[in-house]
């Protein structure tokens, strides 16, 4: 029998004794996931086949079917607008004051599509291949192929909506190459592609709201999922203005609530992005897949002090011309201009001579951590490395550099008050995307019937690492094209029996949510939610961030429950529940971060291989590259919640690579 390195954590008395205080330091083995519902047959025809087999809802009956959509980002906005256009009754939620503000709006770079407008050899097949390979062979082939197929329709749809993509003088769409791929398939709208795509979806949604087809609840946050007779039938949500907690009923629920990067406290996510919707769904039976697959972006502006509220990303195109270095000598705090060339270590160029400063995101990030851990980091707290444009300015001239990066330099200067034309930029990696999320089948349905997850909230398409400009593609593919087809099938097969408004489960669930909020208000301790979030985030960043080790993950798994216990003894939330109370919102999101953080650490501990954004220091090649273990780990780890304080249950979805053969990356 093959020895799986992760087996030692299972049903091991020693482990149980040693880590008994932590609920999640152990897990139970569950049944493997046998069926992802992807049709069989040639991969090119699977999506067509699925759509053909899907049942349809008679247009006359659609108005009688209610769908809840939570979130109004690219995935949620697109889904809400499309379902309403098709005639369903949509009830939609966002915690922001307007659906136009969802965090998709901050995406800068672009959106991939296999249009092959450049005639440079791109194709659906190549986008599919690049995405599976880029995901370090931890994504499901059927889903990724569909994503590549649908990508071409997205661009058509967005152009028809009036999204002002960059164009060439002939009036045709401009593209650029992005993230190290060899074809030019990224469509963009300056550095604000996410904003423009989101406004397109928002405008389509606004049209449906005005037409009365979407009942929009802004400033309303989902706090729990209602499951009746095994099916998702609604949500419990809190009106953030009045504080009123109530249940909204539906025939199906779609979660489009984004990723969980904010569990790290400092990330490039918006401040209010959170994991409560997906975590509460997880507690109600939805499996959570690959929680440890998080992506770190190497070119963010470093923190300037303890007051730091969030981190700002700068496009990684900067690495095309900037040279990354730190002083050779640890503790060298002289200004950069006084450090001579001989005293500088251009460490990426030294370690990876053929790729130099252009190594992939995860490698550049880890290398920055290593030099900073050696005491050679620069700037406040030593958590930064230089990104120096002096050579580029000398070679190309200031004007050429300004033409390429002017807006980024301006942004940097606004935040740091340093002029990148004069002194090198300082950069440091930060969390900015989570590949993990709710497990979904080919239909984007979770393991709770009637509960669907789309966009970053699900785990589906990016494996262990997402390629640049692919998040926008996936959000819109799910929202505009995939979900509307698969959801119709679910509704057509499910009788439209309404849940009675006085169903006993509703009062029960509302009471449970109210209890949780009341408890947070009642503790009246001496620490703010922010202070706990900061402490949890730092712990997670250190032990489950860029590099993960068994010892570190075990430390985190021991510390998180202690911190959670302290939270429930010392948290302070002023005011009452029945009012606009932002401290209460934040404290309640933290409750879920503690549990999610534990599951992330457990997942990272059990996956003793390195792959994509998940780097286990114990599993690396001689040149420091992530060493995958396809024999043991070519599966999706889908976790089942077994109850508070009980070890989660691991269900494996074995991945088959029939079209893209797994290879090991090398950048030396």
């Amino acid at each position: 029998m093959t020895h799986h390195p992760q087996d030692e954590y299972v049903n091991d008395e020693r482990a149980q004794d040693e880590y008994a205080p932590t609920a999640f330091a152990q897990y139970q083995e569950g049944d493997p996931i046998a069926d992802t519902k992807a049709p069989a047959g040639p991969i090119e025809g699977r999506w067509d086949q699925r759509r053909f087999e899907a049942r349809l809802v008679n247009p006359a009956n659609r108005r009688g079917r209610t769908v809840i959509v939570v979130g109004t980002g690219l995935a949620g906005g697109a889904a809400g607008a499309t379902l309403a256009e098709q005639g369903y009754r949509v009830v939609q939620f966002c915690f922001q004051d307007s659906p136009r503000r969802a965090h998709s709006i901050a995406a800068q770079g672009g959106i991939n599509a296999a249009k092959n407008y450049r005639n440079d050899g791109d194709s659906i097949r190549r986008l599919f291949y690049d995405t599976v390979k880029g995901g370090d062979f931890r994504a499901r082939e059927s889903n990724v192929h569909r994503l590549a197929q649908v990508s071409v329709e997205i661009i058509d749809q967005c152009v028809a909506q009036g999204v002002p993509f960059a164009r060439e003088y002939g009036g045709l769409l401009d593209t650029r190459s992005f993230g190290g791929v060899q074809v030019s398939r990224t469509f963009y709208a300056r550095g604000q592609t996410g904003q423009q795509l989101l406004l397109g979806a928002y405008q389509a949604l606004s049209r449906q709201i005005a037409a009365g087809n979407v009942e929009m609840h802004a400033r309303t946050e989902m706090l729990d999922l209602l499951v009746v007779d095994g099916r998702a039938r609604g949500i419990v949500a809190r009106d953030l203005v009045t504080g009123q907690v109530r249940t909204h009923l539906a025939d199906a629920v779609v979660l489009a609530t984004g990723g969980y990067g904010n569990v790290f406290h400092l990330s490039t996510n918006a401040k209010n992005s959170n994991a409560t919707a997906i975590w509460r769904a997880h507690r109600r039976g939805a499996l959570f897949a690959n929680p440890c697959f998080t992506q770190i972006h190497p070119t963010c502006i470093p923190r300037s002090g303890d007051h730091q509220a969030k981190l700002t990303l700068m496009s990684e195109s900067l690495r095309n011309d900037g040279r990354i270095w730190v002083p050779r000598r640890p503790g060298d705090t002289r200004p950069p201009a006084q450090i001579s060339a001989a005293e500088r270590d251009y460490y990426l160029e030294r370690m990876y001579p053929s790729f130099g400063n252009l190594v992939p995101r995860d490698i550049a990030s880890r290398a920055a951590k290593v030099v900073c851990d050696e005491g050679r980091g620069v700037g406040p707290g030593g958590q930064g490395v230089y990104l120096d444009f002096a050579d580029a300015i000398e070679r190309l001239g200031r004007e050429a550099v300004a033409a390429r990066y002017g807006n980024l330099f301006e942004m940097y200067q606004r935040i740091t008050a340093e002029d990148p034309y004069q002194v090198p930029m300082r950069i440091y990696p930060a969390i900015h995307y989570t590949m993990g999320g709710l497990w979904v089948d080919y239909d984007l349905q979770t393991t709770v019937p009637g509960l669907f997850a789309i966009g970053e909230a699900n785990f589906s398409d990016h494996g262990a690492n997402r390629l640049g400009a692919s998040a926008l593609m996936q959000g819109l593919a799910d929202g505009y094209f995939v979900l509307p087809a698969t959801l119709a099938d679910y509704l057509a097969r499910t009788p439209g029996a309404p849940v009675a408004a006085d169903h006993p489960q509703i009062a029960e669930l509302e009471a449970e949510v109210a209890d949780r909020l009341n408890l947070l208000l009642a503790v009246d301790g001496d620490r703010t939610p922010e202070s706990f979030h900061r402490e949890l985030g730092e712990l997670l960043w250190n032990e489950c961030g860029m590099a993960r080790s068994e010892a570190g993950l075990r430390r985190a798994l021991e510390r998180i429950p202690q911190l959670r216990a302290e939270f429930w003894r010392r948290i302070k939330v002023p005011g009452v529940g029945e009012e606009f109370n932002q401290t209460l919102e934040k404290a309640n999101r933290l409750v879920d971060y503690f549990e999610l953080a534990e599951l992330m650490c457990l997942d990272a501990l059990h996956r003793t291989e390195s792959c994509g954004g998940h780097f286990r220091v114990e599993s690396q090649t001689a040149d420091g590259e992530a060493a995958r273990d396809d024999e043991a780990f070519a599966y999706v780890a889908a976790w089942e919640f077994a109850g508070p304080g009980r070890p989660p249950v691991l269900h494996r979805e074995q991945l088959a690579f029939e079209h893209v053969h797994p290879t090991q990356r090398s950048y030396a």
Partner: protein, 245 residues
């Protein structure tokens, strides 16, 4: 640095409000204005007081959630969003007045938080191109001249923060409405609905209680995205054209 803040406190829409003074100490120049308020709120929470409510989310100047009137200026002294305003633009010992957007069409929800849903209703009245999912021709079927695409983009940059309304002595939403009209009306895809769009949007804008434009130009000065006053000229022209049969 140490500062005195005079912040508008108002517990709810129908409650009376007023300026309350707070001392904040040890403020770093590197902080954003919102991080400075975070610092104050941490202290208020520990004292058991109500922290100051304010809208914010992305904190990188693109979501449009944040916005307050700082020393009488929408988003403060720099031409940027409040989240991208840094404390280095203030000096030790300063007294800073912080108020919510002031406009009849933006009622106060609490403290510095206002209700900007009127903007959403203006967009819903016609600020879109009718293109149901799946109905689109190939993206290259209709070439768009680069000049038109660039002009559309520059007006589509609006983040819907409401600074234009807050800065306007008439509380007018002309710049906001104009930005969307220009974005969509200059594109060939937006042409079929061109006339109806401008009529509906202007009607919605008026119905929400926003004032009229008297060419003061404060809106364009306050706009963190640099949307220019020319847009309002275009809006007026489109409106006149839209009114003709």
């Amino acid at each position: 640095m140490n500062l005195t803040l005079r912040i508008w406190r108002q517990s709810g829409p129908d409650q009376p409000g007023g300026l309350t003074a707070y001392q904040v100490t040890g403020i770093s120049e590197e902080m954003s204005f919102l991080e400075m308020l975070d610092t104050l709120n941490e202290e208020l929470i520990l004292r058991g007081d109500q922290p100051v409510a304010f809208d914010h989310d992305c904190r990188e100047g693109i979501c449009g959630a944040c916005g307050m009137v700082i020393n009488g200026q929408a988003h403060g002294p720099e031409r940027t969003t409040t989240c991208q305003l840094h404390m280095r633009h203030f000096s030790d010992g300063d007294t800073i007045d912080v108020e919510p957007w002031r406009s009849a069409a933006f009622p106060v929800v609490k403290d510095l938080v206002v209700d900007r849903s009127a903007f959403d209703r203006i967009i819903g009245s016609g600020g879109y191109i009718t293109a149901p999912t799946g109905s689109a021709p190939d993206a290259h079927a209709v070439p768009v001249p680069k000049e038109a695409a660039d002009l559309a983009f520059e007006h589509a940059e609006c983040i819907g923060c409401g600074a234009c309304v807050a800065a306007c002595p008439n509380g007018s939403a002309m710049l906001f409405t104009a930005a969307k009209v220009v974005h969509l009306n200059v594109l060939p895809q937006g042409a079929p609905e061109r006339r109806g769009r401008v009529r509906s949007m202007v009607a919605a804008m008026d119905a929400e209680g926003f004032g009229g434009c008297t060419n003061t130009g404060e809106c364009a000065t306050a706009c963190p995205k640099g949307i220019g006053l020319n847009a309002i000229g275009t809006l007026n022209r489109e409106f006149l054209r839209g009114g003709r049969r």
